[in-house]
Structure formats: structure tokens, C-alpha cells
């Protein structure tokens, strides 16, 4: 049975549609991430589940029970906030105990459970501190402890790591995932950071314009994007315009036909996508099966671990490759000729438009 079942949720603010017919079921114990750019509706959806927004129509049920008419304070879903929202006027221990007191837990039970959870988030020593004495990362650990201690049916997290610095974000990301897995708690996590989403989740749900674009495991999302938006938002991608001709579909400047779309009418327009890391630069071992494109270098950036080579195709379109650093490539200057090659099966075709569908 799904832990959270969302059916046909709609929500608009005046003319602006925030959520448009959202339906999704989240399996029990899953780490489920809502990923998308700002304004895509992910936070609205999370806050609707928490009960801070009322949907215009549609239903939400948790563990089979409908919660539409349950006010926010009776929903029993733990929430971790982007800005921590630690009560500044009470101690760490009192913050953690807040939800237990609301549930009329006994004093000894409160003490025992608070202590255990604070140990779990590595704040055992900090129980008596006041929130302003803690760093941002520590405050967010309190936020996590406070939400977990009530044993919520679902844990909601609204960009909990976005206010922390990069190093801490990665550390806390691992820790969060470990705690989630050890407690086997269904978690709905909102983020706009695709790397965070891929690294932590069982299921990534990409949203755009109030619509779910694709919900799948991270590997699927990256390697099998359902439409052009997912392909462009998750990871980097080159998009090149092309169309079906008598010879099949090929990229301008290359005669190698793509193994796709043979049955389509001539003149149908497509966008071909190739990830920069799948492109080899001036590769002399590229065989005749590979697609090879001649271009002129625009800029070469060396970033240490890798190199970015940006170039202009004869069509005027831009293309970028990411390769291992090599001295030959570093030596390339703007306007130099450069050859990009990649295997045809790495190319994906999408219909034109921001959310154009994938051609299978």
C-alpha cells in the first residue's frame, strides 16, 4: 500500500496555476524527491500535503486515510523547514519536546525519546543550549530531530540544506539519507539541486509548470529522460535542431543516420540531444559508425578535474563537450577547427518545445 496517495490535486492563485492535476503515489519507506526550478509548484505541493495550503480540488490520503478535512495541526506529518524555524525562545531540548508535549506524552517518555533522537542527529551534548548558540547546520539537525521524534507517518522536507554551505551540504546529505534509511520513514523532499536529488532519492519527481514531467529512479531520470525538459534540467545537454529526410534522421554535417523514427513523415522537426560527457574531442579512434561533427572552437575552459570545449557548428548552433584534460585540447585556441564525435545510440530525439516528448 502506498504511504501517500495524491489524486488530481489542483491549485491556482488567481490566474496562475500552481498545481495542475497532480496525481502520484509514493510507496511506503521511499525517499521521494520533488525536483524542479523555482515556481514549478514543488513547494506548493509539499505545503498542501502539510496542510498549510488548501487545494482547490483533488484528494490526499496517507496510509489509506483521506486527510483533506484534517487541519494542519492534526495531520501527523513531520516537517523540516528551509529556514530551520527553530523556536528561538526555548532550548534545544524544549524544541525537540514540543511535539511530544502536544501529544500529551509523559515526562519520562519525553526525556527518553528526546535524548535518543538528539544522539541520532549528533547533538546529544547540546540539549540545554539555546538555538542562537548553534550554527546553521546544528539548527537544521534540531529541526530534523524535532520532526522525527514524533514518529510522523511522513517526513516532509522543504529545501532543508539550501541555506548551508557546500561542504556541509554534502555531509548532511549523507547523514540525512542514513537516518532516513535506518528509520525506514517515507520522506518527501523538495529541492532545486539536481545533484542532491540524484544522490539521495529512491524516486525523483521532476516538476515544471505545475505538472509532473517524470517520476522515476535517479538512473532512469538521467539516462532515460521522458521529455526535453527533464533532459535539459537534469544534467547538461546539447540540443541540436534536425528533421526527418529520405535518408532518415541525421545531424547536419554528418551522414550517419540515427536508428530512430524511420516511419515518420519527411519534414518532421526534431531536437537531438547529446550529453557533453558523451562527446569525444578530436578523437582519432572514432570509427565510421560514430557521428562526427566539424566545428570551430569558441572557448576552452580548464576546470581541473575536466575540460569544457565550447564550439560553434557550421549551422551556427552551439555545442559543448566535457572531456578529460589533455595538453592537446588545452592548446586549442578560438577559431581553431575541432572535431566532435559520439556514438549514435547516445543521441535522444525530442519533439520541439520546452517539454517536447521523447521519440522512442
Amino acid at each position: 500500500m502506498a504511504a501517500v496517495e495524491i489524486s488530481n490535486i489542483k491549485k491556482s492563485y488567481g490566474d496562475v496555476v500552481a498545481l495542475s492535476q497532480i496525481s502520484i503515489s509514493i510507496p511506503s519507506g521511499a525517499f521521494f524527491t520533488l525536483l524542479g526550478p523555482s515556481g514549478c509548484g514543488k513547494t506548493t505541493l509539499l505545503r498542501t500535503i502539510a496542510g498549510f495550503h488548501q487545494q482547490d480540488s483533488g484528494g490526499i490520503s496517507i496510509e489509506g486515510k483521506s486527510i483533506e478535512h484534517v487541519p494542519a495541526h492534526k495531520r501527523d506529518v513531520g516537517m523540516v523547514f528551509q529556514d530551520y524555524a527553530i523556536f528561538p525562545h526555548i532550548s534545544v531540548a524544549d524544541n525537540v519536546a514540543f511535539g511530544l508535549k502536544q501529544r500529551k506524552a509523559g515526562a519520562s517518555e519525553i526525556a527518553e525519546r528526546s535524548e535518543k533522537i538528539l544522539k541520532m542527529v549528533q547533538l546529544g551534548e547540546y540539549a540545554k543550549r539555546m538555538p542562537h548558540e548553534l550554527s546553521g547546520g546544528q539548527q537544521q539537525r534540531v529541526g530534523l530531530a524535532r520532526a522525527l521524534v514524533i514518529n510522523p507517518k511522513v517526513l516532509l522536507m522543504d529545501e532543508p540544506l539550501s541555506n548551508l554551505d557546500a561542504k556541509l551540504r554534502v555531509d548532511l546529505r549523507r547523514e540525512l539519507r542514513e537516518i532516513q534509511q535506518s528509520m525506514v520513514i517515507t520522506t518527501i523532499y523538495v529541492t532545486h539541486d539536481q545533484e542532491e536529488a540524484l544522490a539521495m532519492s529512491d524516486i525523483v519527481c521532476v516538476m515544471y509548470g505545475g505538472i509532473i514531467q517524470q517520476a522515476a529512479a535517479p538512473w532512469e531520470i538521467y539516462n532515460n529522460p521522458a521529455n526535453r525538459f527533464v533532459a535539459s534540467f537534469v544534467g547538461a545537454n546539447n540540443f541540436l535542431n534536425t528533421e526527418k529526410t529520405d535518408a532518415g534522421i541525421s545531424l547536419p554535417g554528418s551522414s550517419v543516420a540515427l536508428p530512430l523514427g524511420q516511419k515518420l513523415a519527411n519534414g518532421t522537426k526534431f531536437v537531438a540531444a547529446i550529453r557533453p560527457e558523451d562527446i569525444a574531442v578530436n578523437d582519432n579512434n572514432a570509427g565510421p559508425d560514430a557521428i562526427t561533427l566539424e566545428a570551430k572552437v569558441r572557448q576552452v575552459n580548464f576546470t581541473g578535474r575536466e575540460m569544457n570545449v565550447a564550439a560553434i557548428l557550421p549551422s551556427g548552433e552551439e555545442i559543448e563537450a566535457i572531456t578529460h584534460p589533455s595538453e592537446a585540447i588545452v592548446a586549442l585556441k578560438p577559431q581553431d577547427d575541432v572535431r566532435f564525435s559520439f556514438p549514435p545510440h547516445k543521441v535522444k530525439l525530442f519533439e520541439p518545445g520546452v517539454t517536447g516528448a521523447r521519440l522512442q
Binding site: 502539510a50 482547490d56 480540488s57 478535512h69 494542519a72 495541526h73 524555524a85 514540543f98 511535539g99 502536544q102
Partner: protein
């Protein structure tokens, strides 16, 4: 936000939530004690004073008869000149304290606040004691055959108002000048402006919103003030003095003419406010506060001049308060000063008027308690509940600032004199008018602190299982506490010094200190008036101290 769903099971009946109930209650209170009195004043003004016929005849009279038109012109002239006078004092003072290193800047600011919170009529009669026909300074210079310009009439009233109200302009301009982005001034200098051009062409336009807001407050307060023109007028009538005179002569009947004059006063205040809003709407400046201005040290000569100016201004403005304090310790025998010092005046007020003292504190404290509760709830509705009602509430709470006390009091009498709701002559009506008139001070303070509290903190409490009411009590209120206390102090200060409305509503049993002071000044009993005034000033001073201690905005909290 709709609480029903369009699909799914039929919407179940739900009791209205906590905040819905509170909103309804607050709306009802404001409707009865704010809108109703003003409406009844408005309606009465359209019924002819003698014939009772509906029409504009009262307005025609007020706008054509010399008696009224003179008062109208006097009011507008006094308001305008006082506003200009206050600006001429306030703006240079703000410039000096924000741009130059002034030793004891805190003292200057504290004095400005004390001037602001002391009742204006204290100033009026203190000036009479110094510069009046038989005043100390007048007599001193008289010995040398030098004649001092008269303190009575329009020049005197304007001088008193300018010195009384300049702190509004000073405090607002100062805080604007201290947060302005210095890069603008640097850019002007870089483009070839000298110091004066820079101030005149760049700095002043940038702080114009603050200056104009302060100026409008001065104007509105100056035209609404009753005590000063009543004491210093000597035949010069203003709208507020004739409204009061008409009201007392129409006592028992319908206060038609008083009410019509009141409407005129409201109209003038509104016009001033709309003018300021209009000017403001064409100038909107956003600035990233990256480069705050620095205070310059001045060379010795100019430093002495600037210090003399700053201290001179606040000392002059504080002079009435010093005079009152000094006078309160003069030995008296009956109403006459008998030479030397003594506590006779204090002994007399404790013996003769414990009722007024008790009343003042009781009424103000009860009103402030009610204000604190109401303002906490109202600011939550205004800040957190984003709907049509909250917007209306926010706007409605501007109204008490605009309505002169006399007008509000007449509205209360006109509204609440019909049995079984006849509460005229009771303590309740005074407490209620203090409550409604001073509520905006409380709401403003709690609203500004609530805007700084992140809503996610309350959402966290709700998410952890606390009901909306419980969240408000256990999370919001503790976090709002400094703002609640500051708001309480501000409303206490203004409530305990209230004269213009209580003068209309008081009876022998409900007399308050400001009313008694006014009566005593009119009767020439300066000793006891000074002792009562000193008592008021001390209680006010304690509140000021508490606000300074609790508010990180210090003196800026008072405007």
C-alpha cells in the same frame, strides 16, 4: 482561502476556526467603537442646526459666516506655519546629528523624545509663565525697559507647536539620513556638487518621504490640538476651540455645529494626508544599503557652533518642562506663590485631587491592557492572514490618527447616549475612547515585530500538533513580547496625556489629570497644575526609559 473542496466527499460542516472568530470579534469592535461614532458625526452634520432639515445648510454656514471662516483660516495658517517651523528646526538638527560627530547625541535624541511625549498644553502655560504678560522673562527684561514680543496669538501658538512637534520631523529624517546609501552623495560630489548643492539636490530629495511624513504628522497634530490655542489664543479662535465652545453651548441638544466643524477638521487632515501620499507615489526609491554614511568630525570652531545649535534647540524645547518641574517645587500659599521652595503643591494635589490621579492611572492602565490584547491579535490578522479583511483592518487603523480627539469624543456622545446603551458620564466611555484612539500605537508596534518573525516558526508549531490558538499563545506571543511591551508603553504615554477627548467626556467623578491641569491653568492655579504635570512627566519618562531599554530602534520607535 476556501475550506471546501470541489470534488471528493461532500464538504463536512466545520466550526469556524479560531482566527475567523477573532477576526469577526475585532471587526465588530471596530465597527461599533470606530466606524459608528464617526458615521453618526457625519450624519448629524447634514441636519440643519435649527430646523432639523436634511441638507448642506450647516456646511454653508460654516463656510460663509465670518466667525467660522476666520477660525478655518486660523487653523490652516497655524497648521501650515507650525509644519514649516518644525521642519526648519527638525531637518537641520537631523542633518547635524546624523552627519557630524556630536558629543552626547543620545542626550539630544532623548530630549527630543521627551518633548514629543509631554502634553502640549504644558508647553503653552509654561511659556505664559516665562514670556506671558507677567512672565518671569518678560519682567526680567521689563526692568531694563526692553519689550519682549507677545507669546499670545498666532505667532505664540505657532512657536509653541514648532518647538513641540519638531521631534517628529527630526526623528524620522534622522533615521532616513542614517540609512541612506552614501554612494549617492559621493556620486553627486564626484559629478561636481558642492556640500550645499549635494544636500539640496540629492540628499534632501532622497529623504523626502521621511520628511514629508513627519511634516504631515506635525500638521495634523497642530490643527487637532485644543489645549495650546485655548490657553494662548486670547481671542484667536481655531476650529478645535470653536468646536469645543459650540459643543459646550449646545450641551444637552444635538451638537450639530460642533459636529460640522469637526467634519471640516477631518477633511483638512485627510487632504493633507492624501497630498503627502500623492507626492510619495511619484517618488519611490529602492536602495541596497551597502555603503552607510559616516559621521564627520568637525574643526573646533564649526563643531562648537553645531553643538550650540543642537543643544540650544532641545534645551529651548525642554524649557517648558523644566519650568513646570521648577514651578512644582515652589512654596505656595493657596494659589499664590509665597517665595522659596516647598512641597506644598504636591501636598495639595494629594489632598485635593487623589481622584484625578487615580482615574488617570486606572483608565490608562485598563485601556492599555485591552490595547495589548487587541493589538497582538490584530497584528496577527494583518500580517499573517492575507485576505480582504486584513487589508481593510490595516487601513481602518489609520483612521484614529486622523480624527481629532474632540471629534471622536463628540461622536462617542452622539452614539452612546441612547438607553440602554447610554454610557455617557461613565468611566467606561473614557476607557473606550482611550482604547480606540490609542489602539494604532499598539498595533503598529506589534505589527512591525511580527513582520520580523518568520511564519515558518508558527508553521513548525502547527506541524508538530499545536492548534492555531495554542500556537499563537505559546510561540507567537513570547516572540512578540518586546513589541507588545513597547506598544503598551507608547499607548500608555499617549493615553495618560490625553486631553482633547476627555475634556468633552469627563464628569466630576471621571476627571483625569490632564483635564484637571487644564482647568487649573484656566483658573490661574499654576502651582498645583505644575505638580500634576510633573507627575505626568515622570510617569511618561519611566515609560520612555522602558521603550529605550527594550527597543533596538531606540528613539526611532517613537515616531
Amino acid at each position: 482561502m476556501s475550506s471546501t473542496t470541489l470534488s471528493g466527499p461532500a464538504p463536512r460542516f466545520r466550526l469556524p476556526g479560531f482566527w475567523t472568530c477573532v477576526t469577526i470579534a475585532i471587526a465588530a469592535i471596530l465597527a461599533i467603537f470606530l466606524i459608528l461614532p464617526i458615521t453618526s458625526v457625519f450624519v448629524i452634520s447634514f441636519f440643519d442646526a435649527r430646523t432639523g432639515e436634511f441638507g448642506l445648510s450647516n456646511y454653508v454656514q460654516v463656510l460663509t459666516r465670518r466667525f467660522y471662516t476666520t477660525a478655518l483660516w486660523n487653523t490652516v495658517i497655524i497648521g501650515t506655519l507650525s509644519m514649516i517651523g518644525a521642519s526648519l528646526i527638525g531637518i537641520p538638527l537631523a542633518f547635524c546629528t546624523s552627519r557630524f560627530r556630536i558629543k552626547g547625541r543620545a542626550i539630544v535624541a532623548t530630549f527630543a523624545v521627551l518633548v514629543l511625549v509631554s502634553p502640549p498644553f504644558i508647553g503653552a502655560y509654561a511659556w505664559i509663565m516665562l514670556f506671558g504678560a507677567n512672565g518671569a522673562v518678560t519682567n526680567f527684561f521689563g526692568n531694563f525697559g526692553i519689550q519682549i514680543p507677545s507669546v499670545y496669538g498666532i505667532p505664540g501658538i505657532v512657536a509653541v507647536f514648532s518647538l513641540k512637534f519638531f521631534p517628529y520631523i527630526y526623528l524620522m529624517t534622522e533615521s532616513a539620513l542614517s540609512t541612506i546609501n552614501k554612494s549617492y552623495e559621493d556620486a553627486a560630489e564626484n559629478l561636481g556638487c558642492n556640500a550645499f548643492q549635494r544636500f539640496y539636490k540629492v540628499t534632501l530629495p532622497l529623504v523626502f518621504p521621511a520628511v514629508s511624513t513627519g511634516a504631515i504628522i506635525c500638521f495634523v497634530l497642530a490643527i487637532a490640538d485644543f489645549g495650546t490655542p485655548a490657553i494662548l489664543g486670547r481671542g484667536v479662535q481655531t476650529l478645535s476651540t470653536i468646536a469645543y465652545a459650540q459643543y459646550t453651548s449646545e450641551m444637552g441638544g444635538t451638537p450639530t455645529m460642533a459636529v460640522t466643524i469637526s467634519m471640516l477638521m477631518i477633511a483638512i487632515s485627510m487632504a493633507a494626508l492624501l497630498l503627502q501620499r500623492h507626492i510619495m507615489s511619484t517618488r519611490r526609491y529602492a536602495s541596497a544599503l551597502t555603503n552607510l554614511p559616516v559621521k564627520k568630525s568637525l574643526p573646533m570652531g564649526r563643531s562648537v557652533l553645531v553643538h550650540a545649535f543642537c543643544y540650544g534647540v532641545v534645551f529651548l524645547a525642554m524649557l517648558p518642562s523644566f519650568t513646570v518641574l521648577y514651578t512644582s517645587f515652589l512654596a505656595t500659599s493657596g494659589p499664590v506663590f509665597s517665595g522659596g521652595f516647598g512641597l506644598d503643591s504636591y501636598a495639595r494635589i494629594l489632598r485635593d485631587s487623589p481622584q484625578a490621579i487615580m482615574n488617570s492611572f486606572t483608565f490608562a492602565l485598563i485601556a492599555v491592557a485591552a490595547i495589548s490584547i487587541a493589538s497582538g491579535l490584530i497584528s496577527f490578522i494583518v500580517v499573517r492572514r492575507d485576505n480582504a479583511v486584513s487589508g481593510t483592518l490595516d487601513l481602518l487603523l489609520m483612521v484614529p490618527y486622523l480624527i481629532p480627539g474632540i471629534v471622536m469624543a463628540i461622536g462617542f456622545v452622539a452614539t452612546f447616549r441612547h438607553p440602554p446603551f447610554d454610557i455617557t458620564g461613565t468611566a467606561l466611555i473614557i476607557i473606550l475612547i482611550l482604547f480606540i484612539r490609542r489602539l494604532p500605537y499598539g498595533v503598529r508596534s506589534t505589527t512591525s515585530i511580527l513582520r520580523q518573525i518568520k511564519p515558518s516558526i508558527e508553521e513548525a508549531a502547527v506541524n508538530l500538533g499545536a492548534s492555531p490558538a495554542k500556537t499563537f499563545a505559546t510561540v507567537t506571543v513570547p516572540l512578540m513580547m518586546p513589541g507588545l511591551i513597547v506598544g503598551a508603553m507608547m499607548s500608555f504615554i499617549t493615553a495618560i496625556n490625553e486631553l482633547s477627548s476627555t475634556l468633552i467626556l469627563y464628569t466630576a467623578r471621571t476627571i483625569t489629570m490632564p483635564v484637571l491641569i487644564y482647568v487649573q491653568v484656566i483658573n490661574g492655579e499654576f502651582g498645583t497644575a505644575a505638580a500634576l504635570s510633573s507627575l505626568l512627566m515622570v510617569s511618561t519618562g519611566i515609560c520612555v526609559f522602558i521603550v529605550f531599554w527594550l527597543s533596538d530602534r531606540k528613539e526611532a520607535a517613537f515616531v
